[in-house]
Amino acid sequence: MTTPEPTAGTLAQGMSAHRSRSGVPLKGFYGASDARDVDEAPGAFAFTRGRRADPAPVGGWIQRGLSGEGDPTRSNEQFRYLISQGQTGLNFIVDAPTQALLDPDHPLAVNAVGTQGVSLCHKQDFLQLLRDLPLDRITVSTSMTNGLFALTAVYVAARELGFAVDKLRGSVLQLPFYGEDVTYAVHVPFEGRVRMSCDVMEFCAKEMPRFHSFVEDTYFFSESGLNAVEEMALGFVEIRYLVREMLKRGVPIDSFAPRIAIVVNCGMDFFEEVSKLRATRRLFAKMMRDEFGAIDPRSWSVAIASHTSGLSLTAQQPANNIVRGTLQALSLVLGGASAIEISGFDEAFRTPSEDAHRLGLRTQQIIELETGITSVVDPLGGSHYVEALTSAMEGRIMAMIREIEGRGPPGDLIESGWFRNFFEGTIARYWSEIESGQRKVVGVNAHTVPPAEDMLLRDIAETKIRPYRDRIEQVREFKRRRDIGHVREALAHVYTTARGSGNLVMPVVAAFDSEATIGEISGTIRQAYGAPYDAHGMVSPP
């Protein structure tokens, strides 16, 4: 497959001795003349050197692992264990049916219930998932592709469990652009996806001011083999679009911009990843202040969390992945990440095990407590090379943003499959680089061992999570026992709101209170946008 046509000008030539992975030409060494004058202090505009002026206190970044599996009860036990082990935030992932906004009793869900995350469907699930947790002290982040359902689930649970909703800290993802193509498709038309995102952001600006209502997640789509420049450019295209939509609604920029965060990928090109974080903060700050007119300094400094790359991990010699995770986490700490998750070393061949979770957490704790790296803010600041690379990344990301935005409305690019083609091209490029040996991966195309010798940590792969089929019958039972009249009434209200211009958050909360399910509410929203209730034509409205 050929390199995607759209970005021929900015695409990488791959990693050579003389270029960074995203194509920045590199010199043999850097001197004072290569870097611009750095008179910027950490904690000040343009936040290249970090959001804060003081060194990170103990636990200065949120250390967490992605968790959640099986049913809410099983996941709640897992969460309580992780908190007891010193984890300072939760980031829960939901299973494939929940990501796709399908109930566990949907025919396509039968083999996927609870295997790759926790299965969620209705209000009782949300309560069960988050019970007995100090929601006033920890952050609750969600790795659910649809922000509206993630937010309402957390909202309903926190309210019922007696926590002040306006004090809640945590985050939801908003992926209206790329989610349909490269992760879990929810089959709501583009306009509807954008609207759901904006409704959440507008609601939180008023009601949940401490909650990050818009996490731009560049991790998901960059796992399609994107380089760091492409990753951030596509991310910014989405951020800029949603910000403009919010401004069109008349929501003041400073009421929501402080609660935008970015979750980035982190690959193996060490200094490029450090520079990516620094360049991203600088770009965001300039964009918010100079282009969107934000006045509040909190609107300028964006928090960047990261999940280390699963694509960079190998099924061969899985122990090597522990080293990869360590190096990636180190580059993130040096780049000033606000929260870090290390991909499970077993991720290349299974949904991460508990052992892998713990190891990811321990890696971060070793960096924090034993190495002394965190004593000084931005220890690489002023490095000729890092400053030069940061500026080069900034320029390249901005150029690519302009190039994409110059192609017309992003909605048209999405609907016409332009981005999908782009992702197909980048993954093909990634694999051909590995196959040709242009990109070296130890254990894959360099320093390989025969399978018979590749046994270290291999046994973990064989322990698999089977589908939680009991959930299916439990959900059917739940649906039989509720008052269907109530459900229909609440769904009708969701439908009317979705057809009009009101905010969807409270109608969706009310629908959960009336015991409607995620599948039913999302189906109703699909219908309101002229799409089928079920994209797979297998289930009908209640």
């Binding site: 497959m1 396509l108 083999n111 197909e424 993954i427 093909a428």
Partner: protein
């Protein structure tokens, strides 16, 4: 005369259930196309019944299932049964890094023709599919 008697191997490429990590599947489809095969791309969200039907309608030589989740463990027996019930002789191959060594043996026993795990070279995949395609065509020609 049949439209697919001469020429290219016809391969279905698709995924089962809610397995949604499609990039691998797309990349393989492109690779097989570039190797001169006719790829009938089924994408995501397929049931075993839909795959069998497509294999028959399309006179496919090979059915390629791309997998990134463990759903395949549950779906494969159903798929193999449905194929034999429908007298469909397309060869089934499975690709994905999540397939572990012990699964591999079980799958081969079930009648899966080939399994491509992590690190499979594209030339090996292409060669195996060409052989499977040629074997099926030879069988058809003999009647």
């Amino acid at each position: 005369m049949n439209s697919s008697t001469p020429g290219a191997v016809r391969v279905l490429v698709g995924m089962l259930g809610l397995d949604q990590h499609e990039v691998g599947s797309l990349a393989v489809a492109g690779m097989l196309r570039d190797a001169g095969m006719e790829v009938i791309y089924l994408g995501r969200f397929n049931t075993p019944a839909a795959i069998v039907r497509a294999a028959i309608d399309e006179d496919a030589d090979v059915i390629g299932i791309s997998t990134h989740s463990w759903e395949y463990i549950e779906y494969l027996p159903e798929l193999m049964n449905a194929l034999s019930k429908a007298h469909c002789d397309a060869a089934v191959v499975l690709g994905g890094s999540v397939i572990t060594a012990s699964d591999r043996d079980q799958l081969l026993e079930m009648g899966v023709a080939a399994i491509f795990g992590a690190g499979s070279a594209s030339q090996d995949i292409v060669a195996a599919l060409r052989t499977l395609g040629a074997t099926r065509r030879a069988g058809l020609a003999r009647g």
